[in-house]
Amino acid sequence: MSFDIDTTITGMISAISEVIPGDWEGVKDCVEKALKEEKEALSDIAAARLAGDINDEEMKSQLEDEKVALEAAFLACQVKAKVMAQNAANAAITVLKNAIKATI
């Protein structure tokens, strides 16, 4: 059975967008970039295994470590989304403040 990494990545993006629909637009590009880099890293690991540069046990360890790296990339995206939400909320408060000032 063949493994299509591009289809898998597309599926992963879709799954993530369903989990975080509210913040999705703010983090979409960041998440896509993280997954693209992850794809390259997985390709590097596969190439290293095929070339005999790493053995099965080392490959398993490498894949475990990739989970950590991908999680870190997603955490950075979450910070970005939070900052965008924070800025949006503060912009709304500023509008309200100006509207109240204009009213009284």
Binding site: C30, A41, N90, T103
Partner: protein
């Protein structure tokens, strides 16, 4: 809605609006993440560069000459730098995500150090992959810190660059 309307209306809305108005007039802003810290950002870049240099020097050496003892001092130095970065992040309120990233970096560093010590060797195959992974981890840490410096008018930078490229 005018203030006079608020006074006349019933239910929780008047209280809510008064609270919001008070917040607004007091100059209050909502805060979901820590403020940007330029020193932390610079530290992330500096430690990331040192780790890359460690691997660069390391990969220059023949595999047979990579005994743990030869590198133990640099392992400890860099571990200290990473612990300092973790503490710096952890001491800041509203900074859980960045703290977790720095904890992950430290965790992988300790894992590779432990393996090197156990095997008294570190093959080029895993070392090259580990070097690249640390590069990405430090970029994640730096991106998380830089995001805290986003202006309210700033949009998703990747999206903007795509537009510029067109």
């Amino acid at each position: 809605m005018y203030i006079s309307d608020v006074r006349k209306s019933t239910g929780p809305w008047p209280i809510f609006l008064v609270v919001i108005a008070l917040l607004a007039f007091n100059g209050c802003t909502v805060k979901f993440v820590a403020d940007y810290d330029a020193t932390t950002y610079e530290e992330i870049l500096r430690v990331g560069k040192e780790v890359d240099k460690f691997y660069g020097d390391f990969l220059e050496e023949d595999e047979a000459n990579r005994s743990y003892q030869k590198y133990s001092e640099r392992y400890v130095e860099l571990e200290t730098e990473m612990r300092s970065l973790y503490t710096r992040n952890k001491s800041r309120p509203l900074n859980e995500k960045s703290t977790k990233i720095s904890d992950s970096i430290l965790g992988l560093w300790l894992k590779y150090k432990r393996n090197h010590k156990k095997n008294d060797g570190y093959k080029s195959g895993p070392a090259k992959l580990d070097r690249k992974r640390f590069g990405r981890l430090f970029v994640s840490a730096a991106s998380a810190e830089a995001a805290k410096n986003l202006d309210p008018d700033d949009k998703d930078s990747a999206k903007e660059s795509k537009k510029d490229a067109k």
